[in-house]
Symmetry: C2
């Protein structure tokens, strides 16, 4: 469904929406499911600033990442009304900005729930954040865990999107490494 670019791999921009810290991660995922870190960062806005200025700052930061790295697709964490009431509206507004940037640039966008991300990355939907971060670091061959957590979450979201069908190929197309097999199992587990 999502086109694989002429790079031969799928470039996914993952966005963990937030007003104070909006995590941003870009990865290239090859047809054999191996992945490479392209960019990771956080777009911040000051809680003391007016909401309209904060959202404009986040939009500018996200546009800069899109224009610098040209993703094929944007994956945004899905926000639920029942979670974390005091900040959920700001998170929802930031997620709207993230999706808007995709729409304005003509990029397809998808949303994934935190459980989908955890299942895709670790094999089970109730994994804790640290397990997810450790797996992200291993897959991307990073020497340490990406920080802050919002940045790691954005990378996890991007990997999740690619592995859940964005650019994945079946196991029949070539032998999987043990780690790739574990991820494939995790993905199948997430679909059950």
């Amino acid at each position: 469904m999502t086109p694989v670019s002429s790079r031969g791999s799928l470039r996914v921009l993952g966005i963990d929406p937030g007003l104070t810290r909006c995590g941003v991660g870009v990865v290239d995922v090859a047809p054999d499911r191996s992945a490479r870190l392209v960019y990771v960062g956080v777009v911040r806005s000051d809680p003391g600033d007016p909401i309209e200025a904060r959202l404009a700052l986040i939009a500018a930061g996200l546009r800069a990442v899109v224009d610098a790295h040209h993703p094929d697709v944007v994956a945004v964490e899905r926000v639920f009304a029942q979670h974390n009431r005091s900040t959920v509206m700001g998170t929802a507004q930031a997620s709207g900005i993230a999706l808007l940037i995709a729409g304005e640039r003509g990029l397809p966008a998808a949303t994934h729930t935190p459980s989908e991300v955890k299942a895709a990355i670790t094999g089970y939907g109730s994994a804790d954040k640290r397990q997810v971060q450790a797996m992200v670091a291993r897959v991307l061959r990073l020497d340490e865990l990406p920080k802050p957590a919002d940045a790691a979450d954005a990378l996890a979201l991007a990997l999740c999107h690619a592995w859940r069908g964005g650019g994945a190929v079946s196991a029949a197309s070539g032998p999987l490494t043990p780690a790739q097999r574990a991820w494939a199992d995790a993905e199948r587990g997430a679909r059950r």
Copy 2:
């Protein structure tokens, strides 16, 4: 706090955020609290379209209104997590877009709750929608109720913002008409 433009009146853009129908209303409110309709309309997006395309369409529609009518300030209805669960996230995302447009154009923005709007327009916070619409039509000297309801709500929001302090002057600056006195009482009621 909100600057009164060189027009001598305050031009307020009210936005009733929504994904399928986003109400938009522009009014000029004079220092004597009298008001004039400048523009009213609805920005629509198709529920069958991808969310990123819908948000981009809403953003383009709102930018067109801002660029055509040059408001001094933008007033957006405040969205609560506990209301109307199934659509609240889309409404929150649309409200984020509305606030973003204000921020990108350097315009101050404010949010008002539905109760604040009802109290400012009719004198009590639990007024029904039809009472609010009838009062909006009377204040703006419209021959009929603005339709759809989202458009009327946007006008009510704009009037509420101006009357709650955006451009209001005290009664000492001149005699109030009976209707204006009623609105002043309503506004004081809302502040209690």
